[in-house]
C-alpha cells in the first residue's frame, strides 16, 4: 500500500537516510525500529512531507506522493502523530478533533461568515464525528477541556483521535508509547489493535520493544540511515545483524 523506493535524505554532509526501500502492506501494523539516530523520525518526516527528500520515491498504491506537502497528503488519507505531541493547546479537546475533520468539510470563508445552511449542516456532522472519535479513543468525557491542560498520556490519545478524525488510510505514529506508564501502554496496544480493525494501516516508530514485538506484523530495522533488516517480529528477534546492532550500541 505504501511503498518506499531508494529513499535518500542528506542534510549538509550528513546522510540521514540512504537508499531505504520498503513496502507497508495494507491493513497491517508495521514497526520501524533502530538505535537512536538511525533515521526513524527522518523517515516519517520524509513520508509525511515535512522534508523534501534528496532522492527516491514514495508511492501510495501506485500513485507517487513524493514531495507532497502534508496538507496535500491529508485528503489522500496519510496522517501522522508527533513524538512531542503537537496539540492545538488553546483549543478544547473537541475542537482539536474537529480540526481533524477539516478535509471532510468544504465551507469557505463566505459560507462560514454568513452561516449559509450548508455550512450549518456540515458543522453538525463535524461535531458528531468528532465526538465519535473521542469515544473511540476513550477520552469522550474530556471534550470540553482545554487541550493544553491535559496530562501527557491523554494528550497522546487526543492526538491519535484527531488523526483518526481524518478517516485516514494510513496513520504514522512517532513513538506513541514514549512517556506512557505501563498501564497506558497496554491501553495503547489495545487502541492500535482497534485502529487496525477499523481498516486503517498503522506504521509506528517505537522504542518499546515489547510493544513492537507484541502488536506488529512486520518490522523494518534501520541503523545509521540504512535498512538493516525487515521481517516478522520473530525473524527480527533472531536476526544476528539486528542483535549485533543493538548489543553493540550498549
Amino acid at each position: 500500500m505504501l511503498r518506499l523506493e531508494g529513499i535518500t535524505q542528506v542534510f549538509g554532509g550528513i546522510r540521514a537516510l540512504e537508499d531505504v526501500s520498503f513496502t507497508v502492506n495494507g491493513g497491517s501494523i508495521t514497526g520501524v525500529i533502530g538505535p537512536n539516530g538511525a533515521g526513524k523520525t527522518t523517515l516519517f518526516n520524509v513520508i509525511s512531507g515535512l522534508y523534501t527528500l534528496t532522492s527516491g520515491n514514495v508511492y501510495l498504491d501506485d500513485r507517487t506522493i513524493t514531495g507532497f506537502p502534508p496538507e496535500k497528503l491529508a485528503p489522500l488519507g496519510v496522517v501522522r502523530t508527533f513524538q512531542n505531541i503537537e496539540l492545538f493547546g488553546q483549543m478544547t479537546v473537541l475542537e482539536n478533533v474537529m480540526v481533524g475533520l477539516h478535509t471532510k468539510s468544504t465551507s469557505g470563508i463566505i459560507a462560514c461568515a454568513f452561516k449559509l445552511p450548508g455550512h450549518l449542516r456540515e458543522e453538525r456532522i463535524i461535531r458528531e464525528r468528532a465526538r465519535h472519535w473521542l469515544d473511540f479513543t476513550g477520552i469522550g468525557e474530556l471534550a470540553g477541556t482545554v487541550a493544553g491542560s491535559l496530562p501527557f498520556g491523554k494528550g497522546r490519545l487526543l492526538e491519535i483521535a484527531r488523526a483518526l478524525a481524518l478517516e485516514p488510510r494510513i496513520i504514522l505514529m512517532d513513538e506513541p508509547a514514549a512517556g506512557l506508564n505501563s498501564r497506558e501502554t497496554a491501553d495503547l496496544a489495545g487502541l492500535i489493535g482497534r485502529i487496525r480493525e477499523a481498516g486503517i494501516t498503522v506504521v509506528l516508530v517505537e522504542h518499546d520493544m515489547e510493544l513492537v514485538m507484541d502488536i506488529c506484523d512486520d518490522i523494518l530495522v534501520l541503523n545509521l540511515g540504512r535498512k538493516l533488516a525487515e521481517g516478522t517480529p520473530r525473524e527480527i528477534q533472531e536476526n544476528p545483524a539486528v542483535i549485533a546492532a543493538y548489543l553493540g550500541e550498549g
Binding site: S48, L50, P69, P70, E71, L73, A74, P75, V79, R80, F82, E86, L87, F88, G89, Q90, M91, E95, M98, V99, G100, L101, H102, T103, S105, S107, G108, I109, C112, A113, F114, K115, H119, E122, E123, I126, R162, A163, L166
Partner: protein, 321 residues
C-alpha cells in the same frame, strides 16, 4: 449558540439606544470613530488573534481604502458607494499580492515586513502630491448618501458606521465559530499539526490577511466620506501600533475584546488630553503592562481577576493552611 445571539442583540440594542441618551453633541462624533476603530481592530484580530500573524502596517490598508475613496470621488467625481467598492477591492488585491511573499515569514521578520509595507504606503500618501494632496491633505470628499438621505451629520454617520461595525462583528463571530476559525487557531497553536490535518496554512493565512485588509479598506472608505478630509498623518506607524494595542488590550482572539479595546483606546485620548503628543508613550506603557499582567486581554483578565478575588474570599484566606 443561543447565548452568542443574545449577547449580540444586547450590543445592537445598546448601539441603537446610546444616541438617544446622548442627544447629539461632541461625544457622538467620538462614537463615530469608535465604530471605525472597532472595525479595524476586529479586522486585525482575525489576523493577529486568530491566525497568530502580526501586522504592524495595518494602517496602510485603512489608508488605501480612505485615499482610494477620497481621490475617486473628490477628484474624479465617482459615486461614493462605487468608490467604496473599488477601495475595498484595492485593499484586498494589495493584501493578496503582498501577502503571498511576506506571510512566509514568521515572528519578528513578519513584523518587520509589515512595518515596511506600512511605511512605504505612508510615504506614497505624502509624496504623491498630485493625487493625494500630500501633507496638506485631500479635501472636498462628498458624504455617502442613500436616496435623499445624505450622511452629513454625526448622528446619521453614527448609524451608518455602526451598521457596518455590527455587520463586521457578526460576520467575524460567525467565522470564529466555524471550521475556518478553528483552522486559523490551529495554525496559531501548531502550524505543522494544522498542515498535517489538511489545513493549507499558507493559503489560509493569505486569505485571512486579504479579508482583514478588505474590512480595513471599507473602514477607510467610511472614514473618508465621514471626515470629508484626509491627511497622511492619520495612517502612519503610530496608528498601526494603536490598532495592535486595541487588539491586545481587548484580548487576542476575542471579537468582543476588540470592540472593548477600540472603545477604550478611542475614548482614552479624549480623557487624557493632557498627555498630548505623549499618547504613544501611554499606549506603549499600556501594552507592556497588559502583556505582563493580563496576557489574555481585558475580556479574559477581568473575569479571571474577579474569580481569583472571590475564590480567596470564599476560602477565608487560609487556602494554604
Amino acid at each position: 449558540m443561543k447565548r452568542e445571539i443574545v449577547k449580540f442583540l444586547i450590543l445592537a440594542l445598546l448601539v441603537l439606544v446610546v444616541p438617544l441618551l446622548l442627544k447629539g453633541g461632541y461625544l457622538m462624533n467620538v462614537l463615530v470613530f469608535v465604530g471605525i476603530n472597532t472595525m479595524l481592530a476586529v479586522a486585525l484580530n482575525l489576523l493577529l488573534g486568530f491566525a497568530g500573524q502580526i501586522s504592524l502596517g495595518h494602517a496602510a490598508f485603512f489608508g488605501i481604502g480612505a485615499y482610494c475613496s477620497g481621490i475617486l470621488t473628490a477628484t474624479f467625481g465617482l459615486n461614493p458607494w462605487h468608490a467604496m467598492a473599488v477601495a475595498a477591492c484595492a485593499g484586498t488585491v494589495l493584501a493578496f499580492v503582498v501577502g503571498f511573499p511576506i506571510l512566509k515569514l514568521k515572528g519578528h521578520y513578519l513584523a518587520m515586513a509589515t512595518l515596511g509595507l506600512g511605511i512605504i504606503v505612508y510615504i506614497v500618501f505624502n509624496e504623491a502630491v498630485n493625487l493625494t494632496g500630500g501633507p496638506s491633505g485631500l479635501s472636498g470628499i462628498p458624504n455617502l448618501s442613500v436616496g435623499k438621505t445624505v450622511f452629513d451629520s454625526d448622528t446619521k454617520n453614527y448609524y451608518l458606521i455602526w451598521g457596518f461595525t455590527l455587520a463586521t462583528i457578526l460576520l467575524s463571530l460567525n467565522l470564529a465559530h466555524s471550521r475556518i476559525g478553528r483552522a486559523l487557531r490551529a495554525i496559531h497553536d501548531s502550524e505543522v499539526a494544522a498542515r498535517v490535518m489538511g489545513v493549507n496554512a499558507r493559503l489560509l493565512k493569505v486569505r485571512i490577511f486579504a479579508l482583514s485588509a478588505f474590512i480595513s479598506a471599507v473602514a477607510g472608505s467610511l472614514y473618508a466620506h465621514t471626515m470629508t478630509f484626509l491627511s497622511p498623518a492619520s495612517f502612519g506607524f503610530n496608528f498601526s501600533v494603536e490598532l495592535v494595542t486595541m487588539v491586545v488590550i481587548g484580548g487576542l482572539g476575542s471579537i468582543y475584546g476588540s470592540l472593548f479595546g477600540a472603545v477604550l483606546l478611542t475614548l482614552l485620548p479624549e480623557m487624557l488630553r493632557t498627555f498630548q503628543d505623549y499618547d504613544i508613550v501611554v499606549y506603549g506603557l499600556i501594552l507592556i503592562l497588559m502583556t505582563m499582567f493580563m496576557p489574555g486581554g481585558l475580556v479574559r483578565g477581568i473575569p479571571a481577576m474577579i474569580g481569583a478575588v472571590s475564590a480567596r474570599r470564599g476560602n477565608g484566606g487560609n487556602e494554604h493552611a
